[in-house]
Symmetry: C2
Subunit: 132 residues, 2 copies
Amino acid sequence: MTTYDSPGALVRTFIDLLVANQPDAACAMVSDDCEYDNVPMGKVFGPSGITASLAPFLGGCTAIEWNIHRQVESGTVANGTVFNERTDRFQLGGRWVEVPVCGIFEVRDGKITLWRDYFDQSTFRDQLTPGA
Amino acid sequence: MTTYDSPGALVRTFIDLLVANQPDAACAMVSDDCEYDNVPMGKVFGPSGITASLAPFLGGCTAIEWNIHRQVESGTVANGTVFNERTDRFQLGGRWVEVPVCGIFEVRDGKITLWRDYFDQSTFRDQLTPGA
């Protein structure tokens, strides 16, 4: 099992796996009862719920980039909190859509137990349906 | 001039002043070029711009509560970063509206130089116009 120096390093690896379109490997890093709260859209729970929520969308992308602008953490991988500010970019149907996001992660005993992203749903949706 | 032990303590005082409906006193804590970015709505700059943006809305509230659920910081009041997760609540026309928010603050030389709030604009707007 990989060990991490800090909760922030753990979260960066988790994001690297998502960006590499490896949701199964990413979700091996979350706890059995992990809450993934995409604030304006709703919550799913646990590795299988999170994978089922992410895999179809990520799998439909021809490229993925998440740029972390700032990240601040407290505590340890045994009991820590991470916030980051990101621009999540997805290439779909030959064009890029991007979402400004602020994410919160709680880490307990080396696993992510909470992942909550704040963003404006219309900002994302309006890019998915241009001209609508 | 008040001194603060940490950028997080400074941000808590700033928020206390806003909740007390004292935007002028709060904005004395921001730099001349401070950026206030209400992500889905746009940006204003500097103490006068921020006061002009906030005062009419805050002044129209009969009560204000911002509950800070989590806050993490790095650095010092000379050069620090603060993230917090909040529920911002406003009493308007006899009822409460509330917005889940993730906020980012940069602090330089004892002043707030960036305040950026991430939230879902529809979540807020739909409460302001119920039944619309």
